[in-house]
């Protein structure tokens, strides 16, 4: 009889135990592109132009730091090479194809969650804006007669994820001398080989206060209009000390008017030699 009592309890317990379904997603769930939970899965790849062609088409708007609405039904397709994973690139990601790169400026935090490095996407540019922020080419929304960040909900309607992220597709261009860099490299990932930080004494950090900090390189060829820029307030590695000695420095290559700015994505972008 005691058995029956327990059986009753067991049956009752089994009745109440259902309710929540949280078994892990299958590994292959996202192999089906229609299951990608970000972006607009109805976008069809068509009218794709290269990033270089796009920048050339709007070169005047970019060089005058203005913004223009893209009226043509065109798309660009590329790989994400930089994002806000350690919060140094705020509200922007860098998109790169074989011809060049461009910044996508989005009013959203945690862009790395759905635009991880190595992610291939297509961007439907129609009705978005292109412009220059300090002459740096970027896609976004108009702001103060120039280009600014676009609404994150609008952005979700304008891109489509094409494949799961694959970091092997991301190759930084190796730079051994400043002369190897050109405007075509803006918005792309580069690695400055064999350089060292000015003021690095083992204690000096990337950004000591809560503002932006520009750090310089010792090498003559990267003269004073060439900076490593870090957000003291947001970058997770801001309070890490700058390595002494020679390093290989990987960063997104950008500009603000006539200053060339290197934006480190993560602390591990600085490889001590």
């Amino acid at each position: 009889m005691l058995k029956k009592f327990f059986t009753i309890l067991a049956i009752a317990a089994s009745i109440i135990s259902c309710g929540e379904k949280d078994e892990d997603l299958g590994e292959d769930y996202f192999l089906d592109p229609k299951n990608f939970p970000y972006g607009n899965n109805t976008i069809v790849c068509q009218n794709i132009i290269s990033i270089k062609e796009l920048k050339e088409k709007y070169s005047e708007v970019i060089s005058t730091s203005k913004a223009a609405e893209i009226l043509d039904d065109i798309q660009i397709r590329g790989i994400i090479t930089g994002n806000d994973i350690e919060s140094n690139l705020a509200n922007q990601v860098s998109l790169q194809d074989a011809t060049g790169g461009i910044m996508l400026s989005i009013q959203d935090n945690g862009l790395f969650t759905y635009l991880p490095v190595g992610q291939e996407i297509v961007v439907n540019l129609k009705d978005l804006y292109i412009g220059g922020y300090g002459k740096m080419p970027q896609i976004g929304a108009p702001y103060n007669n120039s280009i600014g960040r676009m609404n994150k909900i609008l952005w979700q309607q304008h891109f489509r994820i094409l494949a799961l992220p694959d970091t092997s597709k991301v190759k930084a261009k190796e730079i051994n001398s400043a002369s190897e860099l050109s405007e075509d490299d803006l918005g792309t990932l580069i690695t400055l080989k064999n350089v060292s930080f000015k003021d690095s004494d083992g204690r000096a950090v990337f950004a000591p206060s809560d503002t932006y900090e520009n750090r310089f390189l010792n090498e003559q060829q990267y003269s004073t209009n060439f900076v490593v820029r870090t957000s003291g307030l947001y970058a997770k590695f801001a309070k890490e000390p700058m390595p002494q000695g020679k390093v290989d420095l990987t960063a997104v290559f950008t500009r603000y008017n006539n200053t060339w700015q290197l934006l480190i994505r993560t602390y591990s972008d600085v490889k001590v030699l």
């Binding site: 009889m1 309890l9 929540e20 994150k152 997770k236 801001a238």
Partner: protein
């Protein structure tokens, strides 16, 4: 037959698994745990299965062979549905309350359970045999979370068999402890603040003692089946009471199951509900001087929660029943806040009458409460809550201030439209997209990064035990002395586990708030410096882990005297409390002050009160009461930042409570009426809270001290018996419950462990989450076994919990609240809308050849008024940002002060009950 089929099926499953090699004596437990393992999702094995397993072991081993025999009888009755006629009781009367009262008390206790998410969301459980207002207010106004006199529930004490059951750490009683055993807790003794009783010194919001001795459970069998659209949609309840047999034994048992699916039709969107409640009681009347009673009960529950949201989100969702905690995952609903709660309680009571003047009741008890809530958390990303402000249209366009040209441009309007269209274009857009969270974590896996989104489970467990003695000593016909003592020790265990990594592979026990201010190798970023960068897997403890120990020894004494037309009452109490924290992690911010035991804090308190009731003749009476006491602060307000270190709040004092009441009562053959005026003043009170402080980019622990509050008002209750079967009832109360001064605040930021002091402009703030003005008019009629009742209730002046952050007087962000004369103009406290609600019930009692059947339908909020706010809170965020380097204050587009989070009352909700007694 169904039972047998199910069992056969289970046995088949079982034999497949065990290959028929299981020894027979272990059969049941193995089968039992296996069935559980079949049905509980993987995550719950460790907890639920173990609990049930221990429960089974407990039942199996605890009872002696003789008692086991009785359990077999009970279980047979449960299984087969056969009626087991227990031996006739010849000494005790069975409880024959009308079924209507019976079922109303169901509703009442159920409504406590519906909202037991926090102390402020719970109605006060109060009744009275002598006061028309108090005997009805708790029940009638519970849909709006009515709290007696606006007081915090820590001033309302709940006893079971004479043992105080309030959670010592928070002060209030969790009704989930006795959820589902409504039939067992019907023997209750309520006491208003100035009423005498034989179990305690009643607190300023009253007290209740539930007598759950087996002999007090109504004799016979009772089965009830209910359908509802409330927190649950179905309930089955079985209660058995044997009465006392000729050998002096009494047995009672109860089993209740309650269920709601996540997508079911109910008034709590996405809030599933699974609960199985039990009670087993046995009592032996040894002789006329001694009785021993043993009972154990519990209510393992797993349920989904409902979250408060802003009016804008409710508007966009098209319903005030919208639940932002709900999400979908691979096309199926999933609630992000799952509450698991189980507080098995065992009480051993010895009733002893050493002589004919004295009755001594002594109880020993043990409660092991496990309570946890999952939540959605994130690191480095935007808050994934679907109603997070940055996803709402008004984040893009300031709809509240037409003069805000900065946030009302054409582009802003376009963005507003984009967000509005997004919210309204698809139902899915207003819920949590779990697929997206998994996708983000898979991307993190590829890069070897920690989880971006994850679900921690916040645990507050409690092990409490002790003894309580209550003595009633008769001093003759007209006077009596009641006194008692209570000794308890409580260990509260606070920790956070990783419940679900949402597909992520990595997570480390580091403080992400501190990273960025400190390098990754710094001690400060470690939650537990003893194990730096510890990898966290699902089920592991991380973030914080500490225990709070509280010892309490208390005594009370009450004297009553009836002389002439006067009833005198005087009482006193005193108690000693000590408490300390025991840290189980060495937090990097407090390496020498977090691991191990803290110092002990000692508190002594006491108080007294006295009252007199004058019989004015012809049914008129008046009474006057006055009391003063010191009350030890609850342990949850004693430590400044218990998640980090051992620090106590400085200058902490016992609360000073002054209370007084004057009451007039009339009791005639047709009319009963009460009018009461009261006044309470509480000074030196303290309050602790924590929230994310956006201005500091940090979690903030805030302790407020030196709080002064006043509570006063009037209550009226009139019952008119027009005919013997027709009755009118009118209730009303106007109360004030407000802060009468500013208070001090000390806060600690979790990204720096620095302390800052400020003054909170709390003067004029009201107690929140309860209507301060209420009125009710009801009619009840019964004829030929039918009971009909219709009540209209009106609620007004419902305030929301105020934010300390927006009222910091010295904060740079609040600078513009200071006028030219240097006065700080605190923002007005956010309010919710009140309104009218119509409730009704109809029932019929049928006498059958064997037993009786009650059929009843209760419908609350018949007019479906879903605009009655039942509480909520202001968001702890400012409308402005302050740039320190530029010394500049900038307005945000989103106006937080206009967007408090609110809860709304349920729409039309009903419950159909079938109760069969035999």
């Amino acid at each position: 037959m169904n039972d047998i089929t199910i069992k056969k099926k289970l046995v088949t499953l079982h034999t497949e698994k065990e290959n028929n090699n299981t020894p027979k004596q272990k059969y049941d437990l193995k089968l039992f745990t296996y069935i559980l393992s079949l049905n509980f999702p993987e995550k719950y094995h460790r907890h639920e299965c173990l609990w049930y397993y221990f429960f089974c072991m407990f039942v199996q081993n605890f009872f002696s062979t003789t008692m086991r025999k009785q359990i077999i009888i009970l279980s047979t009755a449960l299984l087969t549905g056969h009626i087991l006629k227990a031996q006739e009781a010849d000494t005790l009367k069975t409880n024959e309350d009308g079924p209507q009262l019976d079922e109303s008390s169901f509703t009442f206790t159920e409504s406590q359970l519906d909202e037991d998410e926090s102390d402020s969301r719970q109605s006060t459980v109060l009744s009275s045999a002598s006061n028309v207002f108090s005997s009805n207010a708790g029940m009638k106004f519970s849909p709006a979370n009515y709290r007696f006199r606006g007081l915090d529930n820590k001033y309302n004490e709940v006893y079971i068999n004479g043992v105080r059951m309030n959670d010592v750490e928070r002060g209030y009683f969790r009704f989930s402890q006795i959820g589902g055993i409504n039939n067992i807790i019907r023997n209750s003794d309520y006491s208003l603040p100035f009423e005498s009783n034989n179990y305690c010194y009643s607190d300023i919001s009253g007290s209740v003692n539930y007598d759950v001795r087996a002999s007090k459970i109504a004799q016979g069998n009772k089965i009830s089946a209910s359908l509802a659209n409330r927190t649950y949609t179905g309930r089955l309840m079985y209660t058995y009471g044997s009465g006392v047999n000729k050998n002096g034994w009494a047995f009672a048992g109860n089993l209740t199951g309650r269920y709601a699916s996540i997508d079911g039709f109910k008034n709590m969107e996405g809030a599933f509900y699974n609960s199985l409640s039990y009670y087993i009681g046995v009592e032996k009347i040894i002789n006329s001087f001694n009785q021993i009673s043993l009972c154990t009960f519990g209510n393992p529950t797993m349920r989904g929660s409902r979250g408060a949201s802003t009016d804008e989100a409710y508007f966009l969702a098209g319903s005030n029943n919208y639940n932002p905690y709900l999400g979908y995952y691979m096309g199926q609903s999933r609630n992000s806040r799952v509450v698991r709660d189980y507080a098995p309680t065992t009480i051993l009571t010895w009733d002893n009458c050493p002589n004919d003047k004295m009755k001594v009741s002594t109880s020993a008890f043990i409660v092991y409460s496990k309570n946890s809530t999952t939540k959605l958390s994130y690191s480095g990303a935007t808050n994934p809550a679907p109603d997070y402000y940055s996803k709402l249209p008004s984040n893009f366009f300031n709809a509240y201030n037409p003069e805000d040209s900065q946030h009302r441009t054409a582009v802003d309007l376009e963005n507003w439209n984009t967000a509005y269209n997004y919210w309204t274009s698809s139902v899915n857009n207003r819920y949590i997209n779990f697929d997206a969270l998994y996708y983000a974590n898979q991307a993190s896996n590829i890069n070897g990064e920690d989880a971006v989104y994850f679900m921690p489970e916040v645990h507050t467990d409690r092990l409490s035990g002790g003894v309580a003695t209550n003595v009633r000593y008769s001093l003759g016909v007209n006077s009596a002395l009641n006194f008692g003592g209570n000794l308890t020790r409580t260990k509260s265990m606070h920790y956070q586990t990783m419940y679900d990594l949402l597909g992520a592979k990595y997570f480390h026990n580091t403080n992400s708030y501190a990273l960025g201010d400190y390098p990754s190798y710094a001690m400060q970023v470690q939650y537990d410096y003893r194990y730096p960068d510890k990898e966290i897997k699902e089920g592991d403890i991380y973030g914080y882990d500490y225990n709070i120990f509280v010892d309490n020894l208390s005594g009370w004494l009450a004297y009553t005297l009836d002389k002439g037309g006067f009833h005198y009452y005087a009482a006193a109490k005193a108690s000693y409390t000590d408490m300390f924290r025991e840290g189980k992690m060495q937090n990097g911010f407090a390496p020498n002050n977090s691991y191990g035991r803290s110092r002990k804090a000692y508190f002594g308190d006491g108080g007294g009160k006295a009252g007199v009731t004058v019989n004015l003749g012809k049914g008129h009476a008046a009474d006057l009461g006055f009391g003063y006491e010191w009350k030890t602060p609850t342990a949850n307000s004693v430590f400044l930042s218990p998640e980090v270190n051992n620090n106590f709040v400085k200058n902490l004092k016992c609360e000073n409570i002054l209370s007084g009441q004057f009451s007039y009562a009339y009791s005639g053959s047709k009319i009963n009426a009460n009018l009461t005026a009261y006044y309470n003043k509480i000074t030196d009170a303290s309050k602790w809270t924590c929230f994310y402080d956006d201005n500091e980019h940090s979690f903030s622990y805030v302790s407020m001290t030196g709080i002064e509050k006043e509570y006063y008002g009037a209550e009226l209750g009139i019952r008119i018996k027009v005919l013997s079967n027709l009755e009118f009832l009118a209730l009303g109360a106007i109360s004030e419950a407000k802060y009468i001064s500013d208070c001090n605040a000390v806060s600690m930021q979790s990204n720096s462990a620095t302390y800052s002091q400020d003054i909170v402009a709390s003067k004029g703030m009201r107690e929140d989450g309860t209507p301060l003005s209420i009125g009710s008019l009801g009619i009840s009629y019964n004829v030929k076994g039918w009971f009909i009742e219709l009540t209209g209730n009106y609620y007004e002046r419902i305030y929301l919990s105020f934010s300390p952050l927006t009222r910091y007087k010295n904060s740079a962000t609040n600078k513009n609240l200071i006028d030219e004369n240097g006065n700080f103009n605190a923002p007005e406290q956010a309010k919710g809308e009140g309104g009218f609600m119509l409730d009704g019930s109809i029932g019929k009692n049928l006498r059958l050849k064997k037993g009786s059947l009650y059929v009843g339908l209760m419908v609350a909020n018949i007019l479906n008024n879903t605009n009655i706010c039942t509480g909520g809170y202001e968001q702890n965020r400012t409308d402005r940002t302050y740039n320190e380097s530029k010394n500049q204050i900038t307005d945000k587009a989103y106006v937080f002060s206009q967007n408090p989070k609110k809860y709304y009352a349920w729409g039309v909700n009903g419950m159909l009950n079938l109760v069969y007694k035999f």
